[in-house]
Subunit: 243 residues, 2 copies
């Protein structure tokens, strides 16, 4: 093996912009979707977007294709691409899977996380508390995501991290609205603090239980009657691409 390869370029010698065009397009589109600037169901015309980004249709097709594999857009052959829509059932399904993933994550993470990582969690928790107090839903939402992602990162499981990010990515466009459903943010903050306490006590089992309960909250709300209008009603095809 040579001696190049990552880990050597900390900062200051970055290769300018070695990314290809379609990678840049993909990342920008992903950002737009995740930030809510592109609502689910929005049609994504290749020519229009190509004009907008100043490229040809090639890189755009490539980008759309990747985002489709991530579940962020839905491509129908010869019909075009739209920002992915989740039916209520699909969203509930995703929530269940997410619960299983994060439960695994916290079980792995509790004995593995460093003090610094736990401290970081505490900071995020305090940020959430402040955002809840000031009713800054957007900040609360982002911090909440950071908290859960930090947990997953703490598991030291790369595949878990990948799968989790993909799944959460699909849910993100709907999360702000489901957060509002959750009722007061205060309770959510309390739940996070309880989880954090269990982590600080290095009690993996209790942390996992609390996390499972925490994640189940919006799920129950959805399974009841509230929040009917958030999702499209027909459950024909959602994201599946083949077979």
């Amino acid at each position: 093996m040579k001696l190049q390869h990552e880990a050597g370029t900390a900062a200051g010698a970055r290769p300018l912009d070695n990314r290809t065009l379609w990678e840049q397009v993909r990342d920008r589109l992903r950002e737009d979707i995740l930030a809510g600037r592109l609502d689910p169901g929005t049609e994504l015309s290749e020519v229009a977007l190509a004009r907008e980004f100043g490229t040809s249709r090639g890189p755009l097709r490539e980008a759309l294709g990747r985002l489709a594999s991530e579940g962020l857009v839905t491509i129908t052959p010869r019909r075009g691409a739209v920002v992915a829509q989740l039916s209520r059932q699909e969203f509930i399904d995703a929530y269940q899977v997410r619960e299983a993933l994060e439960t695994l994550a916290i079980r792995l993470a509790v004995p593995l996380m460093s003090e610094a990582e736990v401290t970081h969690l505490r900071e995020l928790c305090e940020l959430m508390a402040r955002a809840a107090r000031d009713d800054e839903v957007r900040v609360f939402f982002d911090t909440n995501n950071s908290f859960h992602e930090a947990l997953v990162r703490g598991s030291r499981n790369q595949k878990l991290h990948e799968v989790h990010r993909m799944l959460v990515g699909q849910m993100v466009p709907y999360l702000p609205r489901s957060l509002e459903l959750r009722g007061n943010l205060g309770q959510s903050v309390a739940e996070h603090e309880a989880i954090l306490a269990a982590i600080e006590a290095r009690d993996a089992e209790r942390a996992a239980e609390l996390l499972a309960e925490h994640i189940e909250v919006p799920q129950r709300v959805l399974e009841s009657d509230a929040g009917q209008g958030l999702f499209r009603e027909d459950s024909t095809d959602g994201t599946h691409t083949d077979e």
Copy 2:
């Protein structure tokens, strides 16, 4: 809404081949990888494959891109594509995630599966027993996969099914070899039968426990010392595409 849209074409009126070229290419490449006809690390040249399939490079690039998002191939910008390789650590990681997913699946599936589905599981179990007796590793391997997939399908959770298929797809090229590590196939058959018994008794909790133990078997073997030469040693980058 009109009255077209799937659900009307059961069989016999298929639209010949409405699939696009790149979809066909993707599916054939995926088959080749999953069936082991293309070993991990094999270089996938666009021009060579385009000639082989009789298309231009366009559809091929598209297909390779999708497979990359599925984790089946690894694309390095300006360097080309290779069949994805997993490090031992990544494989262990995937096994852990798979365990969490299938545990969730069986918990959901046990109260939901119909008698017909359980019967199907029993048939698969018997097929595995026969394959194990005759030492037909390939048949055993395929049937084993069918068994686990049937469990996931029984959960009625679409997202779970998607994520599971993606993950298993990444593991498949390495599974036959890890199956050999597992030792005698007989024990595996016994484990499956125990799981099936718990399902037939509609005991979700016991089924989940047994399944977790069952999946952990090859994991433990890997974490010990055996099977060192199966994976590449460097753990630089595996499948991650960004961030």
